[in-house]
């Protein structure tokens, strides 16, 4: 026997050996340490606005998700709505919020978003307390799931999600850098749906997208049908992304439960509208994202109004981004199609498709509400489209309604949005699960704001002195590896010009690789070029389209960009600074020349870069 416990004589405990004393000390020590640690562990900071006994909103007009009460009292206890009535007997000590002249709405539901980063907090600042996500990474869903079940005090919207979408290898949905488990045929459907369910998907989203103008691989009809059937067998809804009327009709016939966009190619005839109605399908038109393709001005104007102060720098940059020229919709077709569907009684759900270009999480849902009224919905029907209708269609419990027992997600606005939808902008107070939501956007990483004066010289670099610039910090390679991507780049001086060669690889949300120059003395330190008019440079390349990007302004954010396509031979490219939407030349921090999508190797040469 060689076990340590067996070879010590137990009968002579007179002088304990060192190991036994050590054991005693360590043994007792750990319990003592645990006790001390537990007494020192951090406890939650108690909110001053916490109202454990609840509060009441008294005398407001109330739209409860389905109908309007001209005057009602609503009592909230902790995170739930306790009661609603035309008049409530309230305990005397309870805190009250005066609702006179105001309208109380259920927390809004955006039925088409993509969440990452600060999306949930961004949405809540605009009164959007529930997000129905139509594609994101499963990790985001899992992290949010416990929150929505706990229903605790939070400044963030609840998230329900499709998780990863159903598409083919190389199809729509695979270009964003989120790993996508693609389907090869109908036989994959059952396992694929089960895998989504295991990851926490609340429903299934399927992409039928043969491409906008260009050809794009997409799921064949047999696989679409198999996924819809598998979803139904596993008690999940199946919603579909389509962009053509014929695809919409096909998936309705297959038993799809909803469409996450309205088609954009032609207006349906009466028989086709009747098919949609009789199938019991719902439609999330996402008018605002399509409007952004033809006319982003109304969204920009909305950001200039009272809602603007709730936008973060990143959200502003998102609003300033534009779809490529190739993204087009026939706006009349889109609006007329929604009008016909709504008139026929097809359930219409408000969704923004934020954060696509020219949208901002939260803000864009308010624009969607207005657009739904231009498509024939009454203001009250538009509000229902952003509250009770999505809650019902997506089977989301306790949201989108003001009834006893529902989550205390509430929005108080000045005025009466049930008759004038633009009153939705006048947000007075927002509660998420009974907790008052802070309207101020979170602080982004502070940047150096000591603006340097522009140098006399206009020539930034001509590469006759190697890779250095004539002023400022100089050139560095830049790639999406910073954002988890895999693109590569290499900068060399070749015959007095900058040779940029590399490869764009999928892996980041927005892949890029290129060269960046900092005109200030330090990387990203701002220089005042407000007196200059244009960025000019000579370039030649491999025929691919490249982006010139300007990093500027007070906060970190997505740069303003302009695309250019240089040919085989050297040519001079002049980009007016004011054509970089959203850029602030008075605080110019960096200029990048990059390749972006699509994936593949590239080369670009540039020379004689001037800011003049």
């Amino acid at each position: 026997m060689t076990t340590p416990t067996a070879n010590e004589p137990l009968a002579t405990p007179t002088k304990p050996p060192a190991s036994k004393r050590l054991a005693t000390v360590l043994g007792l020590g750990v319990f003592l340490l645990l006790t001390i640690t537990v007494m020192l562990l951090p406890t939650p900071a108690h909110q001053v606005d916490a109202t454990p006994d609840g509060f009441a909103i008294v005398g407001a007009r109330v739209f409860d998700g389905e109908r309007t009460w001209e005057r009602a009292d609503v009592l909230v206890t902790q995170n739930r709505i306790e009661a609603i009535a035309e008049s409530l007997e309230l305990p005397t000590h309870i805190e009250t919020v005066d609702g006179a002249g105001k309208t109380l709405l259920p927390g809004l539901v955006d039925a088409h978003v993509h969440t990452w980063g600060t999306a949930r907090a961004d949405a809540a600042r605009f009164g959007v307390t529930t997000l129905l996500d139509q594609f994101t990474a499963p990790e985001a869903v899992q992290a949010a799931r416990a929150d929505r079940e706990a229903g605790g005090a939070t400044d963030r919207a609840d998230l329900f999600s499709a998780g990863v979408l159903a598409t083919v290898d190389g199809g729509h949905g695979t270009q964003f850098g989120v790993p996508v488990d693609t389907l090869e045929g109908p036989d994959d459907a059952v396992d694929w749906v089960a895998a989504r369910k295991a990851e926490g998907s609340d429903w299934i989203k399927i992409v039928v997208e043969p491409g906008w103008g260009r050809q794009l691989a997409t799921l064949d009809p047999a696989t679409v049908r198999a996924v819809i059937d598998a979803a139904h067998q596993q008690e999940l809804l199946a919603v579909v992304h389509v962009s053509r009327l014929e695809d919409a009709l096909a998936v309705v016939e297959m038993g799809a439960d909803g469409l996450v966009h309205v088609w954009r190619d032609r207006v349906p005839d009466a028989a086709q509208v009747k098919m949609f109605r009789d199938a019991g399908i719902f439609v999330i038109p996402t008018l605002v994202v399509m409007e952004g393709m033809v006319d982003p001005a109304p969204s920009v104007a909305l950001a200039a109004g009272s809602l603007g102060k709730r936008l973060s720098g990143t959200q502003r940059d998102g609003l300033a981004r534009r779809f490529p020229e190739s993204a087009r919709v026939d706006w009349q077709v889109v609006v007329e199609s929604v009008r016909l569907l709504a008139a026929a009684g097809v359930p219409i759900l408000a969704g923004s498709d934020a954060p696509n270009p020219s949208t901002a999480m939260g803000l864009s849902l308010h624009r969607e509400l207005a657009l739904l009224t231009t498509a024939g919905l009454t203001p009250q029907a538009a509000l229902a489209a952003a509250t009770s209708v999505p809650a019902t269609q997506f089977k989301v419990p306790h949201r989108g309604r003001i009834v006893a027992g529902a989550m205390a997600d509430l929005v108080l606005v000045d005025g009466d949005p049930t008759t004038d939808i633009s009153a939705s902008h006048r947000l007075a107070k927002i509660w998420k699960a009974g907790h008052l939501v802070d309207s101020a956007p979170g602080k982004t990483e502070p940047l150096d704001t000591n603006v340097a004066a522009a140098p006399e010289e206009t020539l930034l670099a001509d590469f006759d002195i190697g890779l250095r610039s004539h002023f400022g910090y100089g050139w560095v390679p830049t790639t999406d590896q910073r954002m988890g991507g895999k693109s590569t780049v290499d900068l060399t001086e070749r015959e007095g010009a900058l040779h940029i060669a590399g490869e764009i690889r999928t892996g980041a949300m927005f892949p890029w690789a290129g060269a960046m120059v900092f005109p200030g003395d330090n990387p990203m330190s701002p220089v005042d070029f407000s007196s200059r008019k244009e960025l000019s440079f000579r370039a030649r390349g491999d025929g691919r389209q490249f982006s010139a990007m300007i990093f500027s302004g007070k906060a970190q954010g997505i740069p303003a960009s302009q695309s250019f396509t240089p040919g085989d031979d050297w040519s001079t490219i002049v980009l007016p600074l004011e054509s970089f939407g959203g850029a602030n030349p008075g605080m110019l921090r960096g200029i990048a020349f990059s390749a972006v999508d699509p994936p593949g190797v590239f080369w670009l040469e540039i020379d004689d870069i001037e800011i003049k």
């Binding site: 416990t5 190991s19 750990v30 406890t43 899992q142 929150d147």
Partner: protein, 257 residues
Amino acid sequence: MITATLSELADSDRPNRKIDAFKTEVAYELVASWRQLDFALPTVLFPAVFYLFFGVFFGKGSGLATYLVATYGAFGVIGTGLLGFGIGIAVARESGELRLKRVTPAPPSALIGARLVTALWFSAVVLLELFVIAAALGDVRFERGQWLGLAGVLLAGTLPFGALGLAIGTHVSGKGAPAIVNLVYLPSAFLSGLWIPITMLPDFLQNLALFMPPFHLAQLALGVIGMDAGYPWQLHVGVLAGITVIASLIAMRGIRR
């Protein structure tokens, strides 16, 4: 029990003897466990490493980080109970160590008691790591009473699983023990919602959880922080007490063999 009678006789001249024997056993059991790094390291590190991965990297600042403190805590203490007893006793039995101990003045209750204290010690280490990581890296905040309650419930949770381990360890061989104990431990931990929230499992698996012993400990721990599934706590306590009694009876039969 004959041994009990014998030790009572031996104890008659020194009333402290039983306690001395117990203290000695505890000390050597601890030393022996530390020396067995292949047992000590996984037991002490796995819950914390898993928590770092799922709770901190995926769930920092969210409800997931909070939920997983309770469930990985349960996972940890169940491990120390099941593995320490299940594998430890089986190995000791096979090596003849148990038989040797019978001829020492230490009563069997001291042997079992020492193993329990050792298991509790490992549980305390696991909870210590987990709580510090959760608070420092996962931004988890609880009221003082909740931290205390969580530590108390989970430490106490070592007992039923120690008994369960004992029942297994007294009936299987030392070679077979790791396989069998892990076969019980890992699947039941998963099905009880210890690794990922139970609501993320398919419905039929969720129903299965009620029959998993770890589920009941996890629910008690989650109850402390208000994230349980809403079953009455008496159910969970009853099941765990039942497990302790039944497993102890089975273990006693095994010891007598």
